[in-house]
């Protein structure tokens, strides 16, 4: 059910203000897993929440969902105080922790859906309609009668996502939903999530190590590092912000001397006596066409490719810039 701004108590479906969580550790100094984090998410947004292991992603999510108590600062999710109003909040959010199951391990999958529908007070027609829809879209027909423990990882993740979305929550939070999935499983899960967002205007918060998830699903990226927000903006903006360069790879007609001195480029290397050469350039300063023209004046170009910035590399640069 969509939440109106009035019901949420503002324009943000997630409102985090100087949120902090400190973990006490034996024989080690206390660790601020989340350290003064502030951000808002508007209804309908799709936000990728990325960072290295231990950066504070999961801890933030657990505070947003009422599992962990903040040490300081505040979080409001769907207009609720997650710690004090956990049960009310649970009716409006759907959460998948990729490494923790919410299904009944020993029982046929369909029993988990039946119990969850009752937990979320779906009436019988609505429960039947929604379950049938999810079973079809996530291709779970063959697994419904199997005990959950016998499902493959891909089958189980699809079932986890279906379980979290059964009650059509306004906010969907997915913590590493594609971890360990093969390419096809990833693709079908992404297709499903895109469709859900389109049809229900669901708000999505996603943590992942898979940049493909972010590229396909998210229109905004938050990068968290050492418990602090290191970046908030679009994915392309992220690449620009850290100055990642594109790489032009040219195949030439004949072995050619190294292409040094082409304006606004850096020569990276060559193969086959200079038949294939690689040049890095900054898209903000010059264009691929301009670089190509310069190259063509020195040698005949037979073929070319442009390597886009690797997002893993972008994130790595963010981390190293802030440490």
């Amino acid at each position: 059910m969509p939440l109106t701004p009035a019901a949420i108590g503002g324009d943000s479906i997630i409102d985090v203000d100087r949120l902090t969580r400190v973990f006490r550790r034996r024989g080690a100094p206390a660790l601020a897993a989340v350290d003064g984090m502030t951000f808002q998410v508007a209804p309908g947004e799709a936000v990728g929440y990325i960072g290295a292991n231990g950066a504070g992603k999961s801890t933030t999510i657990k505070m947003l969902t009422g599992i962990l108590a903040p040490t300081a600062g505040t979080a409001r999710t769907c207009g609720f105080d997650p710690m004090r109003e956990r049960r009310d909040l649970a009716r409006h959010i759907g959460v998948v922790f990729g490494q923790r199951s919410q299904l009944w391990w020993d029982l046929p999958l369909q029993e988990s859906f039946e119990i969850l529908a009752s937990i979320h007070r779906l009436d019988a027609p609505r429960a039947a309609r929604r379950t049938a829809e999810l079973v079809e879209l996530l291709d779970m027909g063959a697994t419904l009668t199997q005990p959950v423990r016998s499902l493959s990882l891909g089958q189980r993740m699809r079932a986890e996502v279906a379980a979290a979305l059964l009650h059509e929550p306004a906010l969907v939070i997915l913590d590493e939903p594609t971890i360990g999935l093969d390419v096809l499983s990833k693709a079908s899960l992404r297709e499903f999530l895109i469709r859900e967002r389109r049809e229900r205007e669901t708000t999505l918060l996603l943590t992942t190590h898979d940049m493909g998830d972010i590229q396909r699903l998210c229109d905004r990226v938050l990068v968290v590092d050492h418990g602090r927000l290191a970046y908030d903006g679009t994915l392309t903006g992220l690449a620009d912000a850290v100055g990642v360069q594109r790489v032009l790879v040219v195949d030439l007609d004949a072995p050619t001397e190294a292409l040094h001195g082409i304006p606004h480029t850096r020569w990276l290397g060559s193969e086959g006596d200079g038949v294939r050469q690689r040049l890095a350039f900054d898209a903000k300063v010059t264009t691929a066409a301009a670089v190509l023209t310069e190259v063509a004046e020195r040698a005949g170009v037979r073929d070319l490719t442009i390597d886009e910035p690797d997002i893993e590399d972008v994130v790595r640069r963010i981390y190293s810039a802030t440490t």
């Binding site: 657990k62 009716r91 923790r100 919410q102 029982l107 119990i115 007070r121």
Partner: protein, 268 residues
């Protein structure tokens, strides 16, 4: 509220079915219960015979009844070994439980009532036959006595579960609770009246036991089902059980609330 009752019913059914998937464990349980029952009944009956007269109201037949009704209950009333929730706190899997819009202790309680119902049918009921054949036992005479006895079993299961739940809640504060669960099991088993009837305790220990919920776990339903407690005494005993279930339930809710603020789930 009606919808929530259906949810708890489904959770109990899931607990029942989950338990039913462990067939080999059930068969092993019947065997162990029988052996343990034969040993207990033999010792208790010979103790009464050796005394030459009834001991605190127990003659050979009633003490045999006491022993075998205890065997009927022992698979259902969880006195030891339950650490599922503590394990989930330590592994962090408890996070998935907190995502449900239900009180945690009632979610677990419903599942345990389902588990206990299967254990009663599959592991408890056969003990009636074994006990009647081996050393004799007394059954309730009237349907109302059966009904009160079954109600008392359900309350015993709930009270014992909620006791275990409270012990498991220590996991919110402690890294290791095995010592605590072991100590609890020993005290609970003794004061519940599983080894010898609470009525045989010295006065001071009987007073100690009466101040705890433990007799409600075993002694009370055994007394009612074996006819040792009848009429108003039986109803009073059930009322005491209800009181303990409510008290332990309230304690479970508030300790969960306090523990939740202490929860540390790092990573994942």
């Amino acid at each position: 509220m009606r919808g929530d009752l259906r949810t708890y019913w489904l959770l109990a059914r899931a607990g029942f079915r989950r338990q039913a998937t462990y067939r080999l464990a059930l068969a092993a349980g019947i065997f162990t219960n029988s052996v343990f029952g034969v040993i207990r009944a033999s010792i208790l009956v010979s103790a009464v015979a050796g005394a030459g007269a009834a001991v605190a109201g127990y003659d050979a037949r009633s003490v045999s009844s006491y022993a075998w009704w205890g065997q009927v209950l022992i698979g259902s009333v969880a006195l030891w070994g339950w650490s599922e929730m503590a394990d989930r706190v330590h592994s962090g899997d408890i996070a998935a439980d907190f995502l449900r819009p239900l009180p945690l202790h009632l979610t677990y309680l419903a599942a345990d009532l389902g588990r206990a119902a299967l254990a009663l049918l599959a592991r408890g009921a056969p003990m009636l036959a074994v006990g009647a054949l081996y050393s004799g036992m007394t059954f309730p005479a009237a349907p109302t006595e059966w009904a009160l006895g079954l109600l008392s079993i359900a309350l015993a299961v709930a009270a014992a579960f909620l006791g275990n739940y409270l012990v498991n809640c220590a996991a919110f504060w402690l890294v290791e609770i095995r010592g605590l669960t072991l100590a609890y099991s020993i005290v609970a088993t003794l004061l519940a009246g599983l080894f010898v009837p609470v009525h045989w305790f010295p006065d001071w220990l009987r007073l100690v036991a009466a101040a705890t919920p433990f007799p409600s776990f075993i002694q009370t339903p055994v007394d009612i089902l074996s006819g040792f407690a009848a009429g108003p005494a039986a109803w009073r005993a059930v009322a005491v059980q209800v009181g303990w279930v409510l008290a332990l339930g309230v304690a479970g809710a508030s300790v969960t609330a306090a523990g939740r603020r202490r929860l540390e789930v790092q990573g994942g």
